[in-house]
C-alpha cells in the first residue's frame, strides 16, 4: 500500500524534452535519467494536486491498452525511483510547492 497519493516535480532538477523522451537530471547529485514516452506523460501530468491513480486512469489507460492496476504499479515504481534522487516529491496530502515548469516539446 502506497503511503502517498500526490506527486510533484521538484524545483531542484534540470529537464528538457528531446523528441519523444524527457531528459531529467537531479540538481542535488547530477544523476541523469531519460523518460520514455509513457513516463514523460506521467512527468508532465504530476502537478502535486491530482492523485497519481487519477493521472494513470485519465492520461495513461485512456491512451494505452494496459490494465489500470499494472499501470499504477509501474508508475509507482517510476515515481519512487525518481523521488529517491530528489527529482519528484511524494506526499499523502496535496503538495503546495510550485512545480518546475513543463517543458515544451521540441
Amino acid at each position: 500500500m502506497k503511503s502517498y497519493r500526490y506527486v510533484a516535480r521538484s524545483k531542484a532538477i534540470a529537464a528538457r524534452v528531446l523528441g519523444d523522451e524527457t531528459m531529467v537530471m537531479s540538481a542535488t547529485n547530477s544523476t541523469l535519467f531519460t523518460l520514455d514516452e509513457v513516463a514523460s506523460l506521467i512527468w508532465e501530468a504530476v502537478d502535486g494536486v491530482t492523485p497519481l491513480d487519477e493521472i494513470i486512469a485519465s492520461k495513461i489507460c485512456t491512451q494505452y491498452d494496459v490494465d489500470e492496476e499494472v499501470a499504477l504499479m509501474d508508475a509507482a515504481a517510476l515515481v519512487e525511483t525518481l523521488a529517491e534522487h530528489g527529482i519528484l516529491l511524494l506526499s499523502d496530502q496535496p503538495i503546495a510547492v510550485p512545480c518546475a515548469p513543463k517543458m515544451e516539446a521540441v
Binding site: 524545483k11 531542484a12 532538477i13 534540470a14 529537464a15 528538457r16 524534452v17 528531446l18 523528441g19 523522451e21 531528459m23 537530471m25 540538481a27 542535488t28 547530477s30 541523469l32 531519460t34 518546475a100 515548469p101 517543458m103 515544451e104 521540441v106
Partner: protein
C-alpha cells in the same frame, strides 16, 4: 562519457537539437590573466531583458546543458537575476568563474538555485605563481576560499588548471590540492589564440617535453599505454566521422549576442539581436557549412595516420586559417602523445628545412636576439 550521455548526444544530433550552449555574459573581468584570449572591454553587452529572452528561446530550442561563463560572470550586477531565470527554464547549469567574488552568501545562493557544478581556474598551488598569472594580488587565496565555500554547500566544484610555461611544474600539486579540497581536477595543456586572431600568447604554451610528460601521467590520462598508443589506420567510418560537437549539437553565444559554433571557433554565424536563436541554429549558412565537414573533406588530415584518433579542433584550424586544414597545435599534441609526426607536421618540417640554411646564416651573423629566440621556440614546438 556515460552510455546514456552518448545516447542523448546521438539523438540530439539526429534531431538537430542544440543540446549544449556556452553563454558568455560579459568579457569584463577582475583578473588580467596573461594567457586570456579575450579583451576585457564592454562593447555593448546584452541587457538583462535580452538575455532572459534568449534563455527562453534556447529552452524552447531544446538546449539542456548551459555553461555560463565570461569574462568573470559575477562582474554583471544582474548575474543572480539571470541565473534565477535560467533555472526557472530548467537548464542544467555549469558556471565558469574565477571565484574571487564568491563568499559564503553567494555560495549559498548558488546551491539554492541548483547549479549543477562550478568550475574555478586555479593555476598553481603557490599563491605567488597563481597571482602572477592572474595579475591580481590575493586572487589565489580568494579563489581557494571560494572552492571551500562552495564545497561547504555541497556543490560540485572543478579546479581547472591551464598549463603554461609559468606553471608547468605545478599541476601535480594543484591536483593534490583539489583532492584535499574534495574538488575535481582537470588540466588543459593548450593556450589558444585570442578571439581576434592574435597569436602572441601562444608563446606561453609549454614545450613538447612538458606536454609529453602530461600525456604519460596515468593519474591524468588513465591507461598510458592505451592513451599513447600509435595510431591505427583510418577506415571509412573514421573518414565519415564528425570532428566534434561544435555546430552539430553545441554552440556559443557571446555577450553581444553573436553566435559561433564554439567559444574556440569564432566564425560569426548570426546574432540573436536580429535573428531568433533557433533560426540561426537551423538556417545559418556558416553552421550548415561546419556541419558538412567530415574527416574525408580534409585534404591532408584524411591521409594522416592520426586521422581516427587525433583531437583536431576545427576552431583552432579555423584560427590557423582554414577550418578544413590542420590545427598544428593538435598535430603537436598527437606527436607528444605517440611520438609519431602527423602528415601536416612532416610537410611543415620539410618546408622549414628548406629555410633553415638562411636562418643558420642569420644566427651566425648576429647575437641571439628576440627573433632568434622566437625561431627556436617554434622549432621546439614543432615536435618532429
Amino acid at each position: 562519457m556515460s552510455g546514456l550521455v552518448v545516447e542523448i548526444a546521438a539523438k540530439a544530433l539526429k534531431l538537430n537539437i542544440p543540446l549544449s550552449v556556452q553563454l558568455d555574459l560579459t568579457y569584463r573581468c577582475n583578473e588580467r590573466c596573461i594567457h586570456c584570449y579575450l579583451d576585457h572591454d564592454d562593447h555593448g553587452e546584452m541587457t538583462t531583458a535580452e538575455i532572459k529572452n534568449l534563455l527562453d528561446q534556447m529552452a524552447e530550442a531544446g538546449v539542456f546543458y548551459l555553461t555560463i561563463s565570461g569574462g568573470e560572470i559575477m562582474m554583471r550586477r544582474d548575474f543572480f537575476e539571470i541565473l534565477e531565470h535560467a533555472r526557472l527554464r530548467t537548464f542544467c547549469i555549469k558556471l565558469k568563474t574565477n571565484g574571487v567574488l564568491i563568499r559564503e552568501k553567494e555560495a549559498q545562493r548558488l546551491r539554492e538555485l541548483g547549479v549543477e557544478s562550478v568550475q574555478i581556474s586555479i593555476y598553481s598551488h603557490r599563491a605567488e605563481v597563481h597571482d602572477e598569472i592572474t595579475k591580481m594580488p590575493g586572487s589565489f587565496r580568494q579563489s581557494i576560499d571560494a572552492v571551500r565555500f562552495l564545497r561547504q554547500q555541497g556543490l560540485l566544484v572543478t579546479m581547472a588548471n591551464v598549463l603554461m610555461t609559468q606553471n608547468a611544474a605545478d599541476y601535480k600539486s594543484v591536483r593534490l590540492l583539489a583532492a584535499e579540497l574534495d574538488a575535481k581536477f582537470i588540466i588543459d595543456p593548450t593556450i589558444t589564440p585570442m578571439m581576434d586572431g592574435d597569436r602572441s600568447i601562444l608563446n606561453l604554451n609549454v614545450d613538447k617535453a612538458a606536454l609529453a610528460e602530461v600525456f604519460r601521467n596515468g593519474d591524468l590520462v588513465g591507461n598510458v599505454e592505451e592513451f599513447c598508443a600509435p595510431p591505427t589506420s583510418v577506415d571509412a567510418d573514421a573518414l565519415d566521422s564528425l570532428p566534434c560537437s561544435a555546430g552539430h549539437t553545441a554552440c556559443y553565444v557571446s555577450p553581444y549576442g553573436d553566435v559561433y559554433p564554439c567559444v574556440q571557433f569564432p566564425m560569426p554565424s548570426g546574432n540573436v539581436r536580429t535573428t531568433k536563436f533557433v533560426d540561426i541554429w537551423r538556417d545559418s549558412p556558416q553552421l550548415k557549412e561546419v556541419r558538412g565537414i567530415t574527416l574525408r573533406d580534409m585534404p591532408t588530415c584524411s591521409k594522416c595516420t592520426h586521422g581516427a584518433t587525433c583531437t583536431r579542433c576545427p576552431g583552432l584550424a579555423y584560427l590557423e586559417g582554414n577550418m578544413r586544414g590542420p590545427s598544428y597545435q593538435d598535430c603537436e599534441k598527437s606527436f607528444a602523445r605517440t611520438g609519431i609526426p602527423s602528415e601536416n607536421l612532416k610537410a611543415r618540417n620539410a618546408a622549414k628545412s628548406s629555410q633553415t640554411l638562411d636562418l643558420v646564416q642569420i644566427k651566425g651573423l648576429q647575437p641571439a636576439g628576440k627573433n632568434f629566440v622566437a625561431h627556436v621556440t617554434e622549432e621546439n614546438a614543432v615536435g618532429a
